[in-house]
């Protein structure tokens, strides 16, 4: 080939220019999606970050001079539904915060009327009803009055067959009807006594928000359709959303709870799936607070961000699936105890969770004093591999592998596979063989209801579980341990008859003291039986920009985030 004298030619010049033109054409005409203009220039930020307040803030006069946009980045919008019948507890960060609940909760987790739509509530003497007296000052975002008919409608709508919100099934199963006593008094009548039903309409324990009857249209087939934009009673009103991207709210200047008036003019929730991108967005100043993973906490702290978030949000445990079957070795106490003692759980949690974001658990579900049935003098199971080996031998284990079901329930338990793999390593040290099946929740769940049950070719079946922090405890027991016949799901208890009997007794309790007594006794008895391997109680971790966010009281346990308590640096 002759040596070419390369010179700049029109093609070399024009090809990239043509490409740039295509780029400009593709990018042109975009609407700038900038934050809404503040009504007045934002005040200069104070210099020092302020630690989260431990007392309720001084009530502020509601003013239309609010300024600033609070930008919150979350990992996922989850259900991304504006009709709360199709939402979930995990989607409360998307739309739940524009609504209120009948019963509120204090930052420490205690249920209270002060932060709810009721002035007080009364459980019927037979625990088969819940009478609520409603606040008279509450209005929906469109100015209509909130009243008892909305409570009745909420029960009807969220209890409808089509409703799939997390606790809609509870409403459907438990609520018989709602009597309207007067415009501000409703009596929710239950199908059967349930002392803990009041938790089902609280901000701490559920996603059962109050929705407006006039916001829906009932169709001829009995379903409902949301009419127009959703309206709530919360401190922010819905403005608009871009599916998969953002959802925007503005301050409700007529918010009934003057103890927690809105302090930001607007609020935007963004979806940033990648954890590193969320933290980088915070670093770049594009957002004010972001959800972070536990392993990002040290980095976020080093970067000068405030770490905060709802405490005791979840508890991790290892379950023995169908341990009630005598053909599984997990039915044997010595073997269950061996598996528990074999794991250096302190080392495991230290490796996976940032300091200050977790507490070791002594029991699977009774993790804090706020939980009914909590026993303070129980300690986490110790690490004793020698004793574990002895117990494995004593159990008569023949070397047949245990099946470990490793699954991630969307964003619910990202470290569950890691914990199970670590457990596998510890168990192999004491001579227990295992096989891991990676799957996800939809692949795993049908096994729970199959007629044949789990395969008898294995010595037993084990899975990770993450239970939400539920102070009323019974729901966790129902899902994880109680039998199918009594409404349970996972059936991971070695004495199904015993746990069913306890659950029935608990259901008949007529006072909280009775319930506490029953659950405390069960807690003590089951602790000695090693029914599961409790691991850790974790907090939900968020990184906050201290230059824009002065304080936040996210609360203890349950599902709420209480964004209405976020205070702007002024």
């Amino acid at each position: 080939m002759a040596k070419a004298n390369w010179v700049v030619s029109k093609w070399l010049l024009w090809a990239p220019l043509l490409a740039l033109f295509l780029v400009a054409a593709a990018c042109g005409g975009e609407e700038e999606t900038t934050a809404p203009e503040p009504t007045e220039p934002p005040a200069e930020a104070t210099t020092a970050p302020v630690a989260a307040a431990t007392e309720a803030p001084t009530p502020e006069v509601m003013t239309s001079d609010l300024a600033g946009q609070l930008d919150i980045a979350v990992a996922a919008f989850q259900h991304e539904a504006l009709d709360m019948a199709f939402s979930s507890t995990t989607a409360k960060t998307y739309s739940g915060h524009m609504f209120d609940y009948l019963i509120g909760n204090l930052p420490g987790g205690e249920l209270t009327a002060d932060r709810g739509l009721v002035t007080d509530w009364t459980i019927g003497s037979d625990a088969a009803s819940l009478m609520v007296n409603l606040r008279e000052s509450v209005k929906w975002h469109d100015g209509e009055e909130f009243n008892a008919e909305d409570v009745a409608f909420t029960m009807r709508r969220l209890g409808a067959e089509e409703a799939t919100c997390t606790f809609c099934g509870q409403i459907r199963r438990r609520v018989d009807m709602t009597e309207i006593i007067d415009p501000h008094t409703a009596n929710i009548v239950l199908k059967a006594p349930d002392l803990t039903f009041f938790g089902t309409v609280s901000s701490r324990d559920t996603d059962i928000v109050m929705i407006a009857e006039h916001n829906f249209q009932e169709n001829s087939d009995g379903t409902f359709t949301l009419v127009g934009d959703p309206v709530g009673t919360g401190s922010v009103k819905f403005v608009e959303r871009r599916l998969g991207e953002t959802v925007d709210y503005e301050a409700n200047l007529d918010y009934w709870n003057t103890d927690y008036p809105p302090t930001w003019a607007t609020r935007r929730i963004l979806q940033l799936a990648e954890p590193a991108v969320r933290l980088n967005a915070l670093r770049a100043g594009e957002v004010d607070m972001v959800q972070i993973d536990s392993d990002q906490v040290p980095q976020a702290r080093d970067l000068g961000f405030t770490i905060n978030g709802p405490k005791g949000r979840g508890t991790y445990l290892i379950n023995y699936l169908e341990a009630f079957r005598p053909e599984f070795i997990t039915n044997d106490l010595d073997f269950r105890k061996a598996l528990a003692l074999a794991i250096d759980m302190d080392a495991v949690v230290e490796a996976l969770f940032a300091p200050g974001t977790y507490e070791r658990s002594a029991t699977p579900f009774w993790t804090k004093a706020a939980v009914v049935g909590y026993v303070p003098d129980l300690d986490p199971y110790p690490y004793d591999p020698e004793e574990a080996k002895r117990l494995v031998e004593a159990s008569g284990y023949d070397g047949t592998p245990l099946m470990l079901w490793s699954f991630v329930q969307t964003a619910w338990c990202p470290v569950c596979p890691d914990i199970l793999e670590l457990a596998q390593g510890y168990w192999s040290e004491i001579g227990v063989n295992t096989e891991i099946t990676p799957t996800d929740w939809t692949g795993f769940r049908p096994n729970l209801f199959s007629e044949e049950g789990f395969s008898k070719e294995f010595a037993g079946h084990v899975s990770m579980d993450r239970a939400p922090g539920r102070p009323l405890a019974l729901q966790n027991l129902l899902i994880s341990w109680v039998s199918h016949e009594n409404g349970g799901v996972i059936q991971a208890y070695h004495d199904l008859e015993g746990v069913d009997s306890m659950y029935e007794r608990a259901g008949l309790a007529t006072t909280m003291d009775d319930l506490d007594r029953i659950l405390q006794q069960f807690n003590r008895d089951s602790y000695e039986a090693y029914p599961a391997i409790p691991i850790v109680q974790i907090d939900e971790t968020w990184a906050l920009d201290p230059d824009t966010i002065a304080s936040w009281e996210p609360g203890d346990m349950g599902f709420g985030h209480h964004w209405e308590t976020i205070r702007q640096v002024r």
């Binding site: 740039l20 975009e30 999606t33 099934g169 963004l270 991108v277 980088n280 670093r283 799901v489």
Partner: protein
């Protein structure tokens, strides 16, 4: 030409039909959306009742027939997760994806054409090696690594561009470069090889002997023929760009079809998944069709042959 168009249209319809059934069957075999939509405390009876109400207990061919007849009428149902019409959910994501992939292709062209030509013209020299190395880095580095690295450097440290999202032309740069750089390697190598082949041909030698300016030899005579396999590659690559866009869209929170499809898979949102995949397939079919048509423009022999 009409025969060609009709033939390709029939092929497209058959492809869409087979694809839709395959996606339908595969997605329904991956687990029921009931397990993600219902609360964890849903009993077996409640789960079964929900599945029956949604019609998911019917045999697969029956469900597919219902989907197929509805689809012919433009009815793709409602998103199981978002409770919004599938057509509007998917429709809103098409243009962002097309724009991003167009930008990525444009960046690919910007990178590849000069590098490929330079590599061929300066074969064996440092320019050639640098061009190939630059392209290779884009091909070897995983997309998420490029994406996260570019965000850290250009958005966080330098603050030149936003970290994520959409809104202005600046939002296109980082995701566009991430996508385009990865694709450009193959194009650089292909264009370089094609150019080397063409530059060695007899008609190019004749052009030089005739005294034509070297620029004209390279860009007017050689380039046009060298582009034929490159255009084919671009058409083929478009499918890869769309697939690679899933990662880029997820990292950059780009509201495109890729992220939507990923979410639909995770959530077993079958109605959305069906339409999203069909749209993807349609786009790829259309791109390949346009590529085939472009051959006639670039190569007169194909036009004469027709």
């Amino acid at each position: 030409m009409p025969k060609f168009v009709i033939g390709r249209f029939i092929q497209a319809v058959l492809t869409l039909f087979v694809t839709s059934f395959a996606i339908f069957a595969l997605s329904y075999s991956s687990g029921s959306p009931a397990d993600l939509l219902l609360g964890r405390d849903a009993s077996a009876k409640e789960r079964a009742a929900f599945i029956e109400r949604m019609g998911w207990d019917k045999p697969l061919p029956v469900q597919y027939w219902r989907f197929f007849t509805d689809a012919l009428q433009g009815e793709f149902g409602v998103s199981l997760r978002m409770q919004e019409p599938v057509t509007s959910v998917v429709g809103a994501r098409i243009m962002p994806s097309l724009k991003l992939t167009a930008v990525a292709l444009a960046i690919t062209v910007i990178i590849s054409m000069p590098l490929g030509v330079l590599g061929a013209v300066r074969r064996g020299q440092w320019v050639d090696r640098a061009a190939l190395s630059f392209a290779l880095i884009g091909q070897a580095a995983p997309a998420f690594f490029l994406a996260l690295g570019s965000i850290l450097v250009f958005a966080v440290w330098f603050k030149w561009f936003p970290t994520s999202g959409t809104g202005t032309w600046m939002h296109y740069v980082l995701p566009g470069v991430t996508l385009g750089w990865g694709i450009s390697a193959g194009m650089v190598r292909l264009l370089r090889a094609s150019m080397l082949d063409v530059l060695d041909s007899e008609y190019v030698k004749l052009a030089r002997v005739k005294g034509l300016h070297e620029g004209a030899v390279v860009w007017k005579h050689a380039m046009r023929n060298a582009l034929i396999p490159v255009v084919t590659f671009m058409g083929y690559t478009y499918g890869h760009i769309l697939a690679a866009a899933i990662i880029t869209e997820t990292v950059f929170a780009w509201p495109g079809l890729g992220k939507l499809t990923y979410d639909a898979i995770i959530w077993r949102d079958f109605p959305v998944l069906q339409l999203a995949i069909l749209v993807w397939v349609s786009i790829i079919i259309l791109i390949n069709f346009l590529v085939d048509l472009s051959y006639g423009v670039m190569d007169p022999r194909i036009r004469i042959g027709e």
